[in-house]
């Protein structure tokens, strides 16, 4: 019995081998999943994020102006706008004196003449001589009808003892003060409304 030969080959433990193979496969699968989801995916995310950041930085660099430029342009524009407004006001306040003179020429009857004329502030003052009050009234009427003068007011009309001519003084308001600001609307036909002016009855010093 001692020298009996076991003719049957000893059966291997295949159950354990399968378990080990299964374990190795599961382990490999786990490692693969771990490598894919735990390492590769985050690395890709990081690369994507870095690429996006680089792209944004490139876009930012593509703007060739700085905030200082913007500030400088804003200041320059504000200064120019102010300059433009000032120039516009200046041009608007620049009266055409020749137009005033032209209207006075057109309004003055040829038989009357001016001895003194003053355009100051927003007022025209004329002193002159005329054959009679009809000419003075005509002058007043024509000035009133002009687009440039308003509040035309004859403040005195006196017959000269020496020459028998009528000496008159007349005032009118200009639409814009010669020194600057707009004061009254042009073409107003309301005579003698100036508070400082007196009524014709009070002031007409017609010496007959």
């Amino acid at each position: 019995m001692k020298n009996d030969i076991n003719l049957f080959v000893k059966r291997k433990n295949t159950k354990n081998t399968k378990k080990i193979v299964a374990g190795v496969l599961i382990g490999a699968a786990f490692l693969a999943a771990f490598a894919a989801f735990g390492i590769l995916l985050p690395m890709n995310n990081r690369v994507d994020a870095q690429a996006k950041l680089a792209e944004l930085e490139q876009q930012l660099q593509s703007y060739d102006f700085t905030e200082e430029d913007l500030l400088a342009n804003t200041e320059k524009n504000a200064m120019l706008t102010q300059q433009f407004e000032e120039l516009t006001r200046l041009h608007e306040s620049r009266s055409d004196i020749l137009a005033y003179l032209g209207d006075i020429e057109d309004a003055l009857p040829t038989s009357a003449q001016i001895t003194y004329m003053s355009l100051t502030g927003n007022q025209l003052q004329i002193t002159g001589t005329a054959p009679g009050d009809a000419e003075v009234a005509t002058l007043s009427l024509h000035l009133r009808e002009s687009d440039l003068f308003s509040s035309v007011f004859v403040s005195s009309s006196t017959v000269s003892e020496e020459s028998d001519e009528t000496m008159f003084t007349l005032t009118a308001a200009l639409p814009v003060s010669l020194s600057g600001e707009a004061l009254v609307e042009a073409g107003s036909e309301t005579d003698g409304e100036n508070s400082e002016e007196e009524t014709p009855e009070q002031t007409e010093e017609v010496a007959s």
């Binding site: 703007y63 430029d69 342009n73 200046l90 003194y116």
Partner: protein
């Protein structure tokens, strides 16, 4: 040395923990930090980019406004020089007035600043005919300096004595003096020349600054 099954299990758990810990320490934690920084930088850059795009729009509008304003200012600035160049204005005024009138006085008052401009008041006293006044006003309106008339007064000049000499049939010379109204007007013209604040350009050229000798006794 053989390990019991329990020991093997413990070693296995320990190994797994070590792997997870190493993964956390060496990879995941730095990755999370990096991603936090990257996300913050991306958000910051996106905000910057939005701001830049808004600034770009604003800048473009500004540049357009600047261009428009520069053009309009250039149109309106005709005759408005840089800096108050009184010598040049004095020569210009004398030339303009003398062409059409008899100059009496130029009286320059103190300049005043109005915003970005300087107003330089001058009172011109002159004698002229009525047409001469109109010529002077016209020349000033079209002149190379921006002048605004702020006042004008004109008065008929004093009567003039005119002496006439006649020779009678007897051969005697008879002189007679009569007075007649002057055809000249005494005119006071208030002007304001306007110029921009700032220094006069260094390259300004003056036609009147030539042909003189300088130096010596100044009271000679």
């Amino acid at each position: 040395m053989t390990m019991t099954k329990r020991e093997r299990t413990l070693v296995f758990i320990l190994l797994v923990l070590i792997v997870i810990g190493a993964y956390w320490l060496l990879f995941l934690s730095p990755y999370i930090e990096d991603m936090k920084v990257l996300t913050a930088q991306t958000q910051e850059n996106q905000t910057l980019l939005y701001n830049k795009s808004q600034q770009q729009i604003k800048n473009n509008e500004l540049l357009k406004d600047l261009s428009d304003n520069e053009r309009q200012v250039a149109e309106l600035s005709a005759g408005i020089t840089q800096g108050y160049d009184q010598p040049a204005i004095l020569v210009y005024l004398e030339k303009t007035v003398k062409e059409h009138a008899a100059k009496q006085t130029f009286s320059f008052s103190e300049i005043r600043q109005t915003g970005q401009m300087i107003a330089c008041p001058v009172t011109v006293t002159m004698q002229s005919s009525y047409d001469g006044i109109k010529e002077v006003l016209s020349a000033l309106a079209d002149g190379k300096y921006f002048a605004k008339v702020t006042g004008l007064s004109a008065q008929q000049g004093a009567e003039e004595e005119v002496t006439t000499t006649e020779t009678t049939e007897d051969g005697e010379t008879v002189s007679s003096t009569t007075t007649q109204p002057s055809d000249k007007l005494d005119v006071i013209l208030n002007l304001e020349f306007y110029c921009l604040t700032g220094d006069i350009p260094a390259d300004a050229q003056y036609s009147f600054d030539s042909g003189h000798e300088f130096g010596g006794d100044v009271f000679k």
